[in-house]
């Protein structure tokens, strides 16, 4: 494989795009960690009631969806501007 020479400094938009991709990659990892529930386990010793748990999970879920929406929109717009 030929070694690709990539520029060391990207212009602002390319830089922004790379960070957006980083965020898109990190989002599921972040989500996975939270789904496996460190926060209820750590901070609510009894494990919390069913309502707390349900609210936690659904809010987390919605948060993931909104983040994905924002990222996808910005990535799409960014790609279209290229």
């Amino acid at each position: 494989m030929k070694e690709q020479v990539s520029p060391q400094f990207l212009d602002r938009r390319s830089y922004r795009r790379k960070r957006l991709i980083d965020a898109a990659r990190l989002l599921p990892l972040f989500g996975a960690v939270l789904i496996f529930q460190p926060i209820p386990l750590l901070f609510i010793p009894s494990g919390g009631g069913a309502v707390t748990l349900a609210v936690y999970l659904f809010v987390l879920w919605l948060g993931l969806i909104v983040s994905a929406f924002l990222l996808a929109r910005r990535l799409g717009r960014n790609a279209a501007a290229d």
Partner: protein
């Protein structure tokens, strides 16, 4: 009350509506008017076949039994879609660039087009999907009977088996009608996808409506529901621990590996950017689908009589509250979930079965007479249809066999674990170039075997293949081999146990075998194509398969076939299509035909690749490239052969030219020879004739005169005879017909003989001849008389032409290893350089003055003699006078030489 008949009627009408939608969508697609059918919304909705009847009905049941567990089934796919940049993006790109038709095709293609891998994956998929299909039949059949038993209209609840049977038949018909209409290169089914999208809306609306009815109709709003949830004894521990993690992982895996999910996510994808929308919209869909699961579960537990099947709460709650219309909507929602899943699964599985099992077998069976493309197409469609029927029959058979006794969720999870076995091979194939075919096969088979042993067979609870005793105590009582407690690990949830073991064994073997085995060249090339797919393909979506521009095709065809031929073809097709003078529509038939025509010019593979570039927008696969390379190699070989032939021809032509040149020279020589001969013969003949006339006509001749004239006639006749002799001699020598008489003698004797022969009696021998003494010592074996003839010629030439006042001839003799060299050097003025070659030609005389009695054949004859003797004679320049060198071999030439 809803009567059962109305239920059947509504269901039938609904199915009719779906038929209509699918038919209209197919028609639009074939006319190239894709429009909204290729929108990201339809794509996202088609993904909803993930939520089958299992989740539609079973989620509430799962919530009742296991608390939060049902959420894991949705959270896994959410993570996968939110993280689309990792895997789905690559998967879709690979699927498009390699023209992938199924997950079996993907894996087989990645691992060097391995047919065996494709068969394994197909079988695995069929085995894992059959229970799942049975599950759908079961849930629809149950919802029917739930209706009927509550209907109280006097009609007996229909037999569940009968309902399931007719459902299976109906689904098979629908799938065959819309799933096998066209065998498209891209395997896209616009009609089916559109119908599935409609069903997705129906089931979402149904579930949301029930949820709203339950929260605000039955319970007292959100606050009340939250109170009820916290009051209900829900299992909160289910949302943590290894089963929670395992289920999240399983569902995440399933959304990638389930054949039907692969079908809608990758194969039916028409634009990569749709993934961007689906990345949040599909999780949102799942979110909405599960939002009301907990409320329905807690309300159902509270409102419905104890012992009600929680799997049917969604349906039984509205029925219990006399909400017929709502119940009907729910029924349709559940019906939609089941049918869309079964249809897409059947399409995906039938594609795999017919492409990877039926067709290879069929082609192998009739290999000698294959090659009929239309025939193959028919067979392909027929095998798809049979496969669909067979898959649904299998599902129905499984349903009858298990008797529909199990809880819905467990069947679904067993299937998930089965298809999850493809994940290591799939992910490894996409991200690791070192993954090999052997590794993939070993890993898959091992994982599959462990899955079957630890989860699938025990799920029959001892009624099939594996006895209850084996499940409890291990085969032959070996506790270490207990299916649900391998190596004595007990007390673990059977699903987690099976998942960890099967995936662990699968992954480890896959990696180990890959590390130690060596991939074939094709595998390695495909590996690069897959792993580095973003470097090898562009992200631009195609312009759509059907919407090919006829002018694009025309431009390409003109470039290859030439203007006239291409235009003629296009006009012909346009007339056939009834379009008069315009360009023809790029129908599949036309594109096929064009490809055939082009392949006549550039080869099949190249033509396919070129047409594919325009119509499919896909990149060329390695297989295509190899085929193109083959054709190119053939063409190169042909051209090399042609080149060699033309070189040969050129050589022959050159040889012919040389021969021709020689012939012409010879002809010129002959002509001049003839004219010279006639000239030479004419001179003596003229004098003979004139003196003969004088003798005849003059009467007063004195005796003296008569004697003189007769003497002249005699002399001229002798000269004539000698000339003819010489010519004959030369001709014999030149033709090589001379017979050499070999003898051994001393060279000095030959020279002496020659000298004495040149002395004309009565003439003054002015020439002084000096022979070197070495001639005495040299013995020579050759035709001595002929050699003497050459010497005589040279000596008499010296006598005749040496113009020195005191003429002298030096004869020097020398000897090499195998040759004798005799030089004849006189002290005359020699021969000018420009005449040195000519003297050896026939009839060449440098000056007529001294040519008395010579025809100019002497040196020519000498040269021929020497040639026959295996030696040569040449002029020796720079010796002060005329000098000739005669070279003779010591030993005689081969006898054959004389013959030639």
């Amino acid at each position: 009350m809803l009567s059962f008949n109305i239920l059947v009627l509504v269901a039938t009408l609904y199915v009719g509506l779906l038929f209509g939608v699918a038919w209209a969508a197919d028609r639009r697609a074939r006319r190239g008017q894709l429009g909204w059918m290729r929108s990201p919304v339809v794509y996202t909705l088609s993904l909803s076949i993930y939520t089958t009847a299992w989740t539609f009905y079973g989620a509430v049941g799962s919530a009742v039994r296991n608390g939060f567990e049902f959420l894991a089934i949705y959270l896994g796919p959410t993570l996968v879609f939110v993280g689309w940049w990792w895997l789905l993006r690559k998967l879709v790109r690979v699927g498009r660039s390699q023209r992938i038709t199924s997950i079996a095709d993907l894996l087989s293609s990645r691992y060097g087009k391995s047919a065996m891998l494709a068969v394994i994956v197909t079988l695995l998929a069929v085995v894992a999907s059959t229970p799942y299909i049975a599950l759908q039949l079961q849930s629809v059949a149950r919802s029917f009977s739930a209706f009927a038993s509550r209907g109280g209209t006097g009609i007996d609840p229909p037999d569940v088996n009968v309902t399931a049977f007719w459902l299976a038949v109906g689904l098979a018909v629908f799938t065959i009608l819309f799933g096998t209409r066209s065998i498209d290169v891209n395997e896209r089914h616009h009609g089916v996808v559109t119908a599935v999208a409609v069903e997705a809306v129906v089931k979402l609306v149904a579930l949301l409506t029930v949820g709203i009815f339950v929260v605000w109709g039955i319970a007292g709003g959100a606050g009340d529901i939250l109170q009820r949830i916290s009051a209900a004894d829900l299992n909160t521990a289910s949302a943590s621990g290894n089963r929670w993690v395992a289920l999240t992982f399983l569902s995440a895996t399933a959304i990638i590996c389930l054949p039907r999910m692969f079908q809608v996510t990758v194969v039916e994808n028409s634009d990569e950017r749709h993934l961007e929308t689906a990345s949040w919209a599909f999780p949102l869909y799942l979110f909405l689908m599960s939002l009301f699961v907990l409320p329905i579960a807690v309300v159902g537990l509270a409102e419905l009589p104890a012992g009600s099947n929680p799997d049917l709460f969604v349906l039984t709650l509205p029925i219990a509250h006399k909400q017929e219309a709502l119940a009907m909507l729910v029924f349709l929602g559940g019906f939609s979930s089941a049918t869309s899943m079964v249809i897409v699964a059947a399409i995906a599985l039938s594609t795999m079965v017919s492409n990877h099992i039926v067709m290879p077998l069929w082609l192998r069976m009739r290999r000698p007479t294959a090659e009929i493309s239309g025939d193959v197409r028919d067979v392909l469609i027929r095998s798809r249809r049979l496969s669909i029927a067979a898959i649904l029959a299998l599902g129905y058979g499984y349903f009858r066999f298990t008797g529909g006794s199990e809880a819905l969720a467990s069947i679904g999870l067993i299937a998930f674990t089965g298809v999850a076995q493809m994940l290591p091979v799939l992910v490894g194939g996409l991200f690791w170039r070192g993954a090999t075919r052997r590794g993939a096969i070993v890993g898959l088979l091992a994982g599959f075997a462990v899955w079957a042993y630890t989860l699938f067979l025990p799920s029959f609870e001892g009624s099939w293949l594996m006895s209850a005793d084996t499940i409890a105590n291990g085969p032959w009582g070996i506790a270490l081999l207990r299916p649900q407690g391998l190596l004595g690990i007990m007390g673990v949830d059977p699903l987690v146990h099976a998942l960890v073991w099967s995936m662990g064994v699968n992954t480890v073997l896959f990696i180990l075998v890959s590390l130690v085995s060596f991939p074939s060249p094709l595998e390695r090339m495909q590996g690069v194509q897959f792993v580095n797919v973003f470097e090898h393909s562009s992200g631009q979506g195609p312009k759509g398969n059907v919407a090919v521009e006829a002018d694009d095709l025309l431009v390409m065809a003109q470039r290859i076939m030439g203007n006239v031929t291409a235009l003629r073809l296009f006009r012909e097709v346009a007339r056939e299509q009834g379009k008069g003078d315009g360009l023809p529509d790029p129908t599949p038939e036309f594109v096929d035909r064009l490809e055939r025509e082009l392949s006549g010019t550039v080869g099949a593979a190249t033509a396919h690749a070129m047409i594919g570039q325009i119509t499919g927008g896909t990149t060329i696969s390695v297989e295509d490239l190899i085929a193109v390379a083959d054709e190119a190699a053939q063409i190169m070989e042909h051209s090399a052969q042609l080149e060699a032939k033309s070189r040969e021809l050129a050589r022959t032509a050159r040889q012919l030219q040389v021969a021709n040149e020689k012939l012409r020279e010879l002809s010129i020589q002959k002509d001049s020879f003839l004219s010279q001969i006639s000239h030479e013969l004419r001179t003596p003949m003229t004098s003979i004739r004139s003196f003969a006339e004088i003798l005849r006509d003059s009467r007063d001749l004195s005796d003296e005169q008569m004697r003189r004239y007769s003497g002249i006639i005699l002399d001229e006749s002798i000269r004539l005879t000698r000339l003819l002799d010489e010519i004959l001699d030369l001709s014999v020598l030149e033709n090589g017909q001379v017979t050499l008489e070999r003898a051994t003698g001393r060279l000095s004797e030959v020279i002496d003989k020659a000298i004495s022969a040149t002395v004309i009696p009565g003439q003054d021998a002015r020439l002084k001849i000096n022979v070197s003494e070495e001639a005495d010592k040299i013995e020579i074996t050759t035709d001595l008389d002929r050699l003497a003839q050459v010497f005589i010629n040279l000596v008499s030439n010296a006598r005749k032409y040496c113009d020195a006042r005191d003429p002298r001839l030096q004869i020097r003799v020398g000897r090499d290893e195998d040759r004798i060299v005799i030089d004849f050097i006189d002290n005359g003025s020699g021969i000018p350089e420009r005449h040195r070659e000519i003297v050896f030609e026939k009839f060449s005389r440098l000056s007529d003055a001294s040519a008395a009695g010579s025809a100019g054949l002497g040196l020519a004859i000498s040269r021929e003699i020497m040639r026959n003797l295996g030696g040569r004679i040449e002029y020796l320049p720079g010796q002060g006078g005329a000098a000739f060198r005669v070279t003779v071999p010591v030993s005689p030439p081969e006898p054959s030489h004389g013959v030639n």
